[in-house]
Subunit: 303 residues, 2 copies
Amino acid sequence: MVYSIIGTGGIGGYYGGRLAQNGKDVNFLLHSDYEYVKANGLRVDSVNGDFHLDSPKVYDDATKMPVSDVVLVCLKTTNNHMLPELLKSVADEHTVVILIQNGIGVEEDVQHMMPKLQLVAGLAFICTAKVAPGHINHQCYGHINLGNYSCKDEARLEQIISDFNEAGIKAHCVEYKTARWRKAVWNMPFNGMTVALETQTDTLLKNKATRELIREQMMEIVRATKHMGIEGVDEAFVEDMIATTDVMTPYSPSMKLDHDFHRPMEIKYIYSKPLQIAREAGMPMPKLEMLEAELKFIEEQQK
Amino acid sequence: MVYSIIGTGGIGGYYGGRLAQNGKDVNFLLHSDYEYVKANGLRVDSVNGDFHLDSPKVYDDATKMPVSDVVLVCLKTTNNHMLPELLKSVADEHTVVILIQNGIGVEEDVQHMMPKLQLVAGLAFICTAKVAPGHINHQCYGHINLGNYSCKDEARLEQIISDFNEAGIKAHCVEYKTARWRKAVWNMPFNGMTVALETQTDTLLKNKATRELIREQMMEIVRATKHMGIEGVDEAFVEDMIATTDVMTPYSPSMKLDHDFHRPMEIKYIYSKPLQIAREAGMPMPKLEMLEAELKFIEEQQK
């Protein structure tokens, strides 16, 4: 199977790197780091073992990449308007396109732009970042849940999961909506609150008032999903997410890093879309709505 | 009638100053500015006409002040633990004590400390500040609503209103709960949001997302008061508060000034008490609850 990685940052570099290290045929699309990686290869420092790819197959132009069996989209959703151009050569109707992206409603919008694509949601539970050109640092976790949105080729999806697990990436299939909304339970409170209060995960959880606020925001998602008949998002999962975050090293979620480095924040898919879905279903999430408004204000002021 | 002003800042200096200028017998309690005002008098710059009190009756010790017919308490609620000491000489069971303070639940707590006091809530609609020692700057508005909490002496209350109006201070009586909750409609959104987003009233209203958020926070108060049977807090009043703020010059509410100058914020009476009352009545105010949590976090981080 031919794999292509669209966006070789912390996520794409780590997962693509692991697959290539395991002997899979992997093509990497790079942007600013293209010349560096072409000359020096890709370095991955990982809690699961460091490795170096001396001669990865790299491209700086998506239209020159081969049609692939599997495409991992590892871009921020703020770049999704570029996907029709980026995918037009690399993906056809036989390709399985895995969107390893944050938020709710991503597949719906990408499918609307490209109706023939076979889409799968990729929910990565991983702390990883690009720390220098061609240099990925994978700090913790690493498993990925796949939620089938519109992939009819079940056999290929099973092969992908098998390839991932062979390469040391724990992967398995979960129900699509459950997968996306479970990820939202962590993403919605922590991404925005670290930006709004200019802090990190550990400080939010150490303060009594914000610890309770984080829990209440998570419970808004529990109530909304229950109301919509989406399974697997319950109070026990909320407590698990808080306990997991309690033992993490102080962490800046992706939106906090985006804000710190003056990149656009993924407000649309992490907040606006899920808030709209819950509101239209008759179970609004008021505290997360307030957070959305604060983030929109902060983004506007930053311009 | 003998008036005493406990706390000669923007509010106490302006109202007390106007009464003295009009020939009333007014005693002022001062703290850091005592020596200055004793030597130089009190200067009031006002949109309604500047004036100067050459020899106001000033005190630096509340226990030396005479028993008074009327006491205006113009301290921040964060100092209310000092009230039994500050009022023990100046107020007896015949005195009408007007608490010109922010928030909900203030009278209840003061009455609990001093059961015999005759308490009246004073809701000041005024932009005024102490800008230098003995120098008050009154920028806009100025009327005061009085809400009777436990004053049995109706005749004296009418005399007070008459004295105020004679001195050029528009004053009238309104139902106690209505008065306090109407004030909260402006106070709760704007005080906290200007702190949370480090901004001013005009910027909050110019941004589409926060303008809508402010309106929704005000509507939480409308729904809670309606649920509790408190009259006079409706959607029309919300629109009026927003329209009034639209035409104000860019304004930093008292909590924003407290935060900027590293003074304690009045979180307890502006947020915690009314939020608790609404929650216990079965109509919580979730967006304002979130704001309370953010403010507690911000205060904790500032220490």
